[in-house]
Symmetry: C2
Subunit: 413 residues, 2 copies
């Protein structure tokens, strides 16, 4: 195959109604007329997935994961043929493909399967024949042809995986936001549209609250150097390109300010400092599917230490008894838990080797009268825990302090 391929992924909102499906088809038709070979990945229409899960719960309280995958996969095998029909009606040759037909091979972990490989024979043959392929996202099959679903961010992951397998020139993610912004535009009126962002920056942004694209999709993009273009289904203008190398002029030190509210902090006090202690504490949380974040272990001169970590406040009630039990097992002194917190993060590869960024962040928050209740850093990110009530003021102060404010105040998007 000589000509390169474009992948376009449309989310559930973009294909939520027959009218919207027709709009999406018109957009794809335009791309085809520009001479591109297109593979489309679709999510289920609007609320279909939730409706199917609700149906399952009307027959049994605890549906087996394997059967739930069989059921839920119908969401995408409904939207895909509808979109293909619509393209055909516009005179664009198109064919819908299930995960199996598109060659998406996964592990057998139902409801959270991982893509192992994409067998591209069928896709390449259809593209050669001049057809747009409309692939049901979020799903694949195991070696035994068992149907699996990919879990959170599944359709994005399908799209980037197909882009990697077909060596696509770009993977376009059409969504209901029109770009990645330097901060949440609902909070910061002068938030700046980011034209280019590196994979690492996007991963850090996603990890601390920017929910536009799931990290696993970004990771595949990074691994196979696939440019990912996040853009609006409803507007024409380009959005944000996620790439390996930023254009020189865009390599500012801090690229964005992310925040996430409703965080709880748990501290285990007086933990004996010996191997295996952390595993004893965190394994039960993992088994209960509670995501743990920002783990900080203070170093002490005695043989004891304090371990602090954050979780979503909604998980707190379930987590505390698990942590107390683990704390007893390892012989810790006490467990303290408090909610009402927010994570405030600054992200940017430009921070690497730029001294003073952390100091500037802490000073900015101090000047705004915002108390810092915890700190965690990666090479390209600094996160502070602050109170929920002060989070938005903090975001705005940091956005200004790191010279991210756009020259124009944005109106309604």
């Amino acid at each position: 195959m000589t000509a390169r391929v474009i992948i376009q992924k449309y989310g559930g909102t973009s294909v939520g109604t027959p009218a919207r499906i027709r709009k999406v088809a018109a957009r794809i038709a335009e791309t085809v007329r520009e001479g591109e070979r297109v593979v489309v990945v679709v999510s289920a229409m609007g609320q279909t997935t939730d409706q199917l899960i609700a149906l399952a719960h009307r027959v049994t309280a605890s549906p087996p994961a394997r059967e739930l995958d069989m059921l839920v996969a119908n969401g995408e095998t409904i939207s895909a043929p509808l979109l293909a029909m619509c393209l055909a009606a516009l005179g664009v040759p198109a064919i819908s493909l299930t995960g199996l037909q598109a060659g998406v091979r996964t592990s057998g972990h139902h409801s959270k399967a991982r893509i192992r490989a994409v067998e591209t024979d069928r896709l390449r043959a259809e593209l050669e024949a001049g057809r747009v392929c409309v692939v049901a996202g979020f799903q694949g099959v195991t070696e035994d042809l068992e149907i699996t679903t990919l879990g959170r961010g599944g359709s994005d992951t399908t799209a980037v995986a197909l882009a990697a397998a077909l060596n696509a020139s770009v993977c376009e993610i059409y969504t209901d936001v029109d770009a990645i912004y330097s901060a949440d535009p609902r909070v910061v009126k002068r938030a700046r549209r980011i034209e280019h962002i590196s994979y690492e920056e996007m991963l850090e942004m996603a990890a601390v609250g920017a929910r536009v694209l799931h990290p696993r999709a970004v990771e595949i993009g990074q691994l196979y150097s696939i440019p990912i273009h996040v853009r609006s289904s409803f507007k024409k203008r380009p959005g944000t390109m996620i790439v390996a190398e930023l254009p020189m002029e865009e390599r500012s030190r801090v690229r964005g300010v992310a925040h996430e509210t409703d965080i709880a902090k748990v501290t285990i006090v007086g933990v004996p400092d010996r191997p295996g202690v952390a595993a004893t504490i965190f394994e039960p949380l993992g088994e209960a599917a509670i995501s743990v974040d920002v783990i900080v272990q203070s170093v002490s001169e005695t043989r004891e230490t304090d371990i602090t970590f954050t979780i979503a406040e909604s998980d707190l009630k379930q987590a505390v008894p698990l942590v107390r039990r683990a704390a007893e097992t390892v012989g810790a002194k006490d467990v303290k838990a408090s909610g009402g917190l927010a994570k405030l993060s600054i992200v940017g590869t430009g921070m690497l080797g730029t001294p003073g960024v952390a100091g500037r962040m802490f000073r900015t928050l101090a000047e705004g009268g915002i108390n810092i209740e915890g700190i965690s850093t990666s090479e390209i990110r600094i996160t502070c825990l602050v109170s929920n009530a002060q989070a938005e003021a903090g975001v705005r102060a940091l956005h200004t302090a790191f010279e991210l404010d756009s020259l124009i105040t944005r109106g309604k998007r």
Copy 2:
């Protein structure tokens, strides 16, 4: 595999709601507890198929058949996992299978595919492992793994085909009628439940108005000698067994009276008697998907003949211009058409070689003042055309004349 298998097929009404799915699961669980190995075939829930087709027509007026099959097949891949979940909740190990997973291989005629073979490896392995297989009916795949649907009577056909492939002891068709009757019980209060009926009789009954089971399913049953048990989803007692050999005592001459109303009769007068004429007349009707029935060609001593046939009255408006054009082409003299008719048929293998049956039918109708407007016969069936208005009286008269009346008058079913 030593133990034999039972196939149970449940139609759309039987699995129309979560509550009904739970009832069906309880029934299957009972069969499993009796020590049977069970393969279940399900239709789509209630109106799902119609809803999916309506959705297609909201995006385009003429969806391609291939994409419509992709879409419509979701109906059964929704109901199958729901039923499997429900069985699991009752402690019955079960697994749902798509047409592809169940090995149903078909021709590539989308929306009316024919089953070519059933590859039973997966089914046998699941049965060996002690699981109930819940197979999505009405669907299969081609050699290229393209998804097809089987058209009218599709799920019944899946069930009987699986029964043949697995050499099942019986194929049970659960439906909303509780048996085949000697006449429509809504018309004849003394209609008799038929305990056994031969494949031939069932085929003739189906062809002339008894719509319980599609003829193509019966044909496969006959070809592979699979007993088919038509019975109620909602009641316990046995229904009708369709078999090759009737028990001696049940071989009465006439087994049932079938009727079908809203029939139209078309006569082409003065057709030149030469080869190819019939083809010229009937091919355009076939292309327009108009079913033609009861074709009678009168023999004449001149080189001209009259051809009469029946169609559904709802097809008359579309058919007449096609027939007129064909009549002109072959040089016939006139075309006459009239509606408001009904087919009245008596069926029974016992009629073979029993003289006087036809005479008795005609005399019975004459005594009832019912005019016969056409006659057609097979070896085991005699059909008379009568007016719609006299059809029900005719059914009752024939039912009594051929000694089919049950000793008890039936109340509400």
